[in-house]
C-alpha cells in the first residue's frame, strides 16, 4: 500500500505539487492523467528519489515505511521501479552488464543468491523475446542509439527483470507508434499481479485502451482534481482537461491568475489532442 498525503514539492522555489493525496492498494493499477506541466513527472521522480526537488510538506508511506527517508537505491532495491519518460544513455556500458549489475544489486538486498552469467543470460533472453527485443541489444551500450520505441522496450525489459512491487510508468506511451505501444502494453499487462501495484502516468487515454486501470486520477495544478474509474479517462478524452481545472480553480484562491493560465494551456493541449483523432 502506497499512501501519499498532502505532498508539497517545489523546484528552484517554484511550487509544483501543492498538497497531493493519493492511495494505491496492493495489486492495483492506477492511471494518473493531466495536462503538461501539471506535475505528473515531478511526482514520479520524487517517488523514485530524485533529489533535485525540495519536499516542502506532506508524507509518502509505503507498507509502513517513510519513503522520503529512503535513499534512491534502497527504494529501488525494496521494489520501486520507475520506467523513465526519457531513458538515459550510458555510453560504453553494455546493456547486459548494466542489467546484470541491477538485477544482482536487487537480489543481494533481498537475500537471494546473485545470478551468474549463464543464469542471467537465460533469463534476460527469455524476457527480451517477450518484449520483442533482439539479442544484439544486450551487447550495445545502455540506450545509446536506441530509437524511442527501443528505449521504452528496454524499460519494460528492466521492469520485468527487477520484479518490482511498485512500478511507476512515466509516459511510457509517449513517442510510440501503435505497434510499439501494443508491445509495451502487453509487457505491462503480463506483469500485473496481486502483489504488484502500478502507477501509469499518461497524457492520453490511448494507452488505457490497452492497460485498463482500476482507478483514474486527474492531476491539475499540483493536486488530484478528480478520481474515478476507467470511464473517467473516456470522459477526459471527449471533453479535455479544461472543465475539470476550471471547476477546481476557485479553491486556489489568490493564485487563480497562474491557475487560469494553466487551464488555458490545458484547454489548448486538449484541443490539439482532439484534433489529432
Amino acid at each position: 500500500m502506497l499512501t501519499i498525503s498532502g505532498l508539497k514539492v517545489s523546484v528552484g522555489g517554484r511550487q509544483i505539487l501543492r498538497g497531493l493525496d493519493l492511495q494505491i492498494g496492493d495489486g492495483e493499477v492506477h492511471a494518473l492523467m493531466g495536462p503538461n506541466g501539471s506535475g505528473k513527472s515531478t511526482l514520479s521522480q520524487v517517488l523514485a528519489g530524485r533529489d533535485s526537488f525540495t519536499v516542502d510538506g506532506g508524507s509518502v508511506t509505503w507498507d509502513g515505511r517513510d519513503v522520503l527517508e529512503m535513499s534512491t537505491e534502497d527504494r529501488a532495491r525494496e521494489g520501486m521501479f520507475l520506467a523513465f519518460q526519457y531513458p538515459v544513455e550510458i555510453p560504453g556500458v553494455s546493456n547486459a552488464y548494466f542489467l546484470k549489475a541491477a538485477v544482482n544489486a536487487v537480489r543481494r538486498h533481498r537475500g537471494l543468491a546473485e545470478l551468474d552469467a549463464m543464469d542471467f543470460l537465460a533469463r534476460v533472453k527469455a524476457e527480451m523475446k517477450a518484449v520483442g527485443m533482439r539479442e544484439e541489444f544486450l551487447y550495445r551500450s545502455v540506450n545509446e542509439g536506441f530509437s524511442g520505441g527501443e528505449k521504452k522496450r528496454n524499460e519494460v525489459l528492466q521492469m520485468a527483470l527487477l520484479e518490482p512491487r511498485l512500478a511507476i510508468l512515466d509516459e511510457t506511451d509517449s513517442g510510440l507508434d501503435i505497434d510499439a505501444l501494443r508491445v509495451v502494453a502487453d509487457g505491462v499487462n503480463r506483469l500485473r499481479s496481486p502483489d504488484r501495484s502500478m502507477l501509469v502516468i499518461t497524457h492520453y487515454q490511448r494507452l488505457l485502451e490497452y492497460i485498463v486501470p482500476d482507478k483514474v486520477h486527474v492531476l491539475g495544478q499540483g493536486r488530484i482534481v478528480r478520481s474515478g474509474g476507467p470511464e473517467l479517462a473516456l470522459e477526459l478524452e471527449a471533453r479535455g482537461y479544461a472543465w475539470l481545472l476550471e471547476e477546481s480553480a476557485p479553491s486556489s484562491g489568490p493564485q487563480s491568475g497562474p491557475a487560469r493560465a494553466a487551464a488555458a494551456a490545458a484547454a489548448a493541449a486538449a484541443q490539439a489532442s482532439g484534433g489529432r483523432r
Binding site: 533529489d51 534512491t72 529501488a76 538515459v88 550510458i90 560504453g92
Partner: protein, 483 residues
Amino acid sequence: MNTATRVLDSFLEREYSAGFVTEVETDSIPKGLSEDVIRTISARKGEPEFLLEWRLQAYRRWLRMTPPEWAHVSFPPIDFQDIVYYSAPKGANKDGPKSLDEVDPELLRTYEKLGVPLHERARLAGVAVDAVFDSVSVATTFRKQLAEHGIIFCSFSEAVKEHPDLVRKYLGTVVPQGDNFYSALNSAVFSDGSFVFIPKGVKCPMELSTYFRINARDTGQFERTLIIAEEGASVSYLEGCTAPMRDENQLHAAVVELVALDDAYIKYSTVQNWYPGDKDGVGGIYNFVTKRGDCRGPRSRISWTQVETGSAITWKYPSVLLRGDDSIGEFYSVALSNHRQQADTGTKMIHIGRNTTCTIISKGISAGRGSNTFRGLVRMSPKAESARNYTQCDSLLIGDKCAAHTFPTIEVRHPSARVEHEATTSRIGEDQLFYAMQRGLSAEDAVSMIVNGFCKEVFKELPMEFAVEAQNLLGVSLEGSVG
C-alpha cells in the same frame, strides 16, 4: 548538496594510496647540475667513454636551449640547480641488480606494498619486472627464462656494460638529444631505465614491465628506456609509476625510444600514477616525458596505450614515425586530471611510408579544477601515398570547475591521404547517476561504471592484469566514501 554532487565529490576526494616513503639509506650526490655532476654519474655507473661523451654533448646542447612554453599548463620556473640528479639506495648501485636474495628486504617490501611483488612465484607470475628505485634498477625478474629465447631484458646501466654495441647502435636514433629541452636534459643526466632486445623472429613469451618508484626527496628521475624488436619479433611491455606524497614538486623527465624493424610489433602500455599533489595543488610530480616509436621496417606496428591518473603536470606525446611501408601506429589514452592537475597530452603520428595507417583514441576526464588538454599531430608527408588516419577524441567533465581542451593539428601533403577526426565532450550527468541508482546500483558503483564505460575502448587495449589495475585506479577509491 544533492546525491550526485556528493558522490562525485567523494570520487574526487580519493586518497593517494602509494604515497608512503621507504626508509633506506641512500647514496646521493649533492644538488645541482654541471659537467662535473655528469662525469660523476657516468663514473658511478662505470660507463664507457663514448657514453660520457654523448652525455656531455647533450648537456652542452641543453645549455643553449630554453624550456618549452607552448603547452597549456602553468607552473613556476624550475630551478634546475635545486635538483638531485642521482640518488640510489645504498649498496644497490655498484654492480647493477643482483639476485633477489641480495636485495634490501625493505625495497622488496616496498614493491610488495605497491602490488608488484618481485618474487617470481608471486601474483605477477606471467610478467617479468624490472624495478627501478630512484636512479637505479634494484632487480629484474625472469631474466634467465627470457635469455633462453635470446631476449635481453635488463636495466639500462647493465645493457651499457653487457651490450654496448646495441646501445651505441640505437641510443638517440629515435629521440635525438636535441629533440627538445627535456630530452636534452635526460640525455645528459639519465640514470637508469629498462633495456629490451627481442631478436629476429622471436615472440616474447611473457609480458615485460618496469615499475618506476621515486622515493628520495628533492630527487629527479631521469630514466631512459630503449626497446628494440628485430625483424618479425614482438613484445608487450608495461610500465607503472608511483611516488611518495611530498609538498615540493619533483621532476620526472624520461625518454623512451622504441625501434620496430620489418614486421615487428611493439605494444607499450603505461599505467601512470605519480603523486598528483594535494587537492590545493601543493606538491606532485612534473611528468615531462618524450616517448617515440620508430616503425622502421615495412609492416611493423607500434601501439601506445596509456592510463594517466597521476602527476601534478603531465606533458607527454607518445608518437610514432611511420617510416616503413604498410606500418601501423596506434595511440590509446585515458588521462584523468583532478583537483589542480594539469595534463597536456596526445600524440604525433608522422606518416612517411606508403599505405601507413594510424588510430588515435583519446579519452580525457577532467574533474575538480583539473585541466585536460589533448594535443595531436597527424602529418601525411609527400611520400605517404594512401595513408590513413582515424582520430577519436572524447572529453568527460565531472563537476563545473574543470576544463577540457582539444588542439588537433592535421597536415596533409599527399592527395590520396584519408584523415578522420571525431570529437565529443560530455558531462557525467546527474541523469545517468539517478538512472543507475533507480535500478538499485550504489552511487559508487554507478560512478565507476560510467567512468569505466567512457574509458572502455582504451582499457580493452591493456594487457589483462593491468586492465583490472587501471579500472581499480579509477574506481577503487570510491569504496566506503559515501554515506
